[in-house]
Symmetry: C2
Subunit: 368 residues, 2 copies
DNA sequence: CTGAAAGCGCTTACAG
DNA sequence: CTGAAAGCGCTTACAG
């Protein structure tokens, strides 16, 4: 504690109204501000003794760096990052943005949002982004897989990051989960619960995760020695409406599956609604599971067992990654695209349970 | 590239890699940076001639101010604003945050998030917020109506803003829509469509909007000379599950309403699921409407007719308002709390339609 | 390994 | 109404 020339030990009054600065810490610790900066950023060489002294001061004064000031130095107008999205109301996007904006404010990066409605408006949206001087653009799904968009952006010398694409490209950075493994994990979970008659609802064939999730399901079934009945694999579109139709197809016949694995939550929620309508008790008579863990998964009842994508963490990671790339480029290095794989988790909620003892027959039986 | 003393008029190359600064603009316009600052901030006295010259330069150079730098001056560590929330997964919150974070990054304000799980943890959450030196706290629902929380915050000398409360308090600023008028407008819409037999699902009695939405419904019915059948007013909890139960109550009896007005979207979505299960066609045989316009409203099928709350705009407004208050306080003024009323809009989608010609009877009739 | 100097882009007083 | 000076909190070179 003893420090500096004077013998006084009182820290600069923290209640004095103004925020604690790096200089307060420096004075308290009896070192130069520069040293505090180094400790805070944890990069350069600092002796252990010094480091400890500074850290104690930081703690004592409850110092936290002023982020606005940090990015002010060095012509370091933090990179501008654009987000080009197409589906505005999706809760998925809100969550991505939540993480993205949080991270960009932490990094002092300016985030610019643009919406592209149709394919036609894409050119215009890209132009607006470019006009605003973005150095990089994040593409959430489904634009993450749009080659034309990527090419336009690359032509303008702008970095591109594909968010939640299922098939990373060689020339575009990506942040994603492993859709294949996620689907396989969910399928194994169903099998462990005793299900063998499992219906699957595929997603929009245009989206890259669709095929991989399906393959994950098929391979896990096969690995367990279970057959995949083609009648129980139904094409969906990732929309609630398509889930409605798919579930009706799966649940109406006399012989129906004991579990439905819908390849996203919206479709699973729809399957739940259909089951409810048919008086099929979930999870007692039917297990329904989804994928993504968007808010709807915990809105419906019973809540959906699903594969949790760390969506807002992925938004954060996307911003970090692209900012790093931009900085590297500015510094003269030109590393290739990087690909970050995030961990998914299987979250078990009320919509899944053990397979019913005997294969259920017609739904009438259950009716009150 | 050529600039400064030489006679060339070329603007400082905008592609030169670094961002356009206030000094570039000043040089281009031949004025002091100070003057540019004044024009940009539009506050002080600037002659029209000067203003135009500067504005032209700004446009020519496509200048936009560096926000990080702006809040660096004057010990002006932009106010810190906390958000204390209780329900993390709600898509509602994501949208609030979207607006809030956007505005705070625009204002250079630091946003601090804290979650309070139970009533027990509230004290701890408030303390953490205070430790982080917040000057104000935004309370999204349902905390917006928690007197204990507000009192704790006030005791610490921190500004409080209640977001989306239905009943603004005299000592706390608020941003909200008029729940009463929203419900009344929706009810009138149903009546115009020819509905007179309307079921209503109330929300959680603990939340302030619940009562006002109900009153708006009742008063609009009464004003149109229509009776409110107590059997068709069902208590809900704002949850999907409670909507399921409520809709079953409303739709099972032989005589059922031709429209259901659920006082939020989650419950309306549930009503849709129940109707679907009972083979009641929406909107042909039954109209279902909600309130809030959260993402689920446009996820389900048919999409919900609902009252749109400009949620992210409310998040933005909340940050603006509380930052203004904090600044006013710092400047020595102490204006009372302000209350901002935002406009709701009635959005008509597929779930509502004209009342069926004759009162429908038992659902069996409709079955294939 | 540590520090004194200079500067980031902008704005707040202070002079004209 | 306009501008030259000083400073915000932090960091990047540059010296020890």
């Amino acid at each position: 504690m003893a420090k500096g020339k004077t013998k006084v030990e009182t820290p600069p009054a923290p209640e004095s109204g103004r925020a604690v600065t790096i200089h307060d810490v420096a004075r308290y610790a009896g070192v130069a501000s520069m040293t505090v900066s180094r400790v805070v950023n944890g990069n350069s060489y600092v002796s252990d003794a010094m480091r400890e002294r500074v850290q104690a001061a930081i703690k004592a004064l409850n110092y936290s760096p002023n982020l606005a000031a940090r990015n002010t130095r060095a012509g370091n107008t933090g990179p501008r990052v654009g987000v080009l999205y197409s589906n505005p109301s999706a809760s998925y996007l809100s969550e991505v943005m939540l993480g993205g904006i949080e991270q960009s404010s932490r990094l002092g990066t300016q985030l610019v949002l643009e919406r592209s409605t149709g394919l036609a408006s894409q050119k215009a949206a890209v132009r607006r982004l470019l006009d605003q001087g973005v150095d990089g653009v994040i593409l959430p799904p489904p634009l993450c897989d749009s080659r034309p968009t990527i090419n336009m952006l690359h032509a303008a010398g702008v970095k591109v990051l594909a968010l939640a694409t299922a098939r990373p490209m060689h020339d575009v950075s990506s942040v994603r989960i492993d859709d294949y493994q996620g689907a396989a994990a969910m399928t194994r979970h169903l099998i462990e619960l005793g299900h063998s008659r499992i219906g699957f609802v595929k997603g929009d064939p245009q989206h890259t995760p669709t095929q991989l999730r399906y393959e994950g399901f098929v391979d896990a079934m096969t690995a367990a020695g279970l057959p995949v009945d083609p009648d129980w694999v139904v094409q969906g579109q990732f929309t609630y409406r398509s889930g409605l139709a798919a579930a009706e197809l799966l649940l109406s016949p006399d012989e129906r599956p004991t579990a439905i694995f819908a390849s996203n939550d919206d479709m699973a929620a729809a399957a739940l609604a259909v089951a409810h309508g048919l008086q099929i008790a979930v999870p007692e008579a039917l297990t329904v599971v989804g994928f993504d863990d968007t808010p709807i998964a915990s809105t419906v009842w019973p809540e959906l067992t699903t594969i949790h994508q760390p969506i807002s963490a992925m938004g954060r990671a996307a911003v970090s990654l692209i900012v790093d790339e931009i900085k590297a480029e500015r510094a003269g290095n030109a590393p290739g695209p990087t690909h970050q794989l995030m961990k998914f988790t299987l979250v078990k909620r009320g919509s899944s349970g053990p397979a019913p003892a005997k294969a259920p027959s017609r739904r009438r039986a259950a009716k009150a």
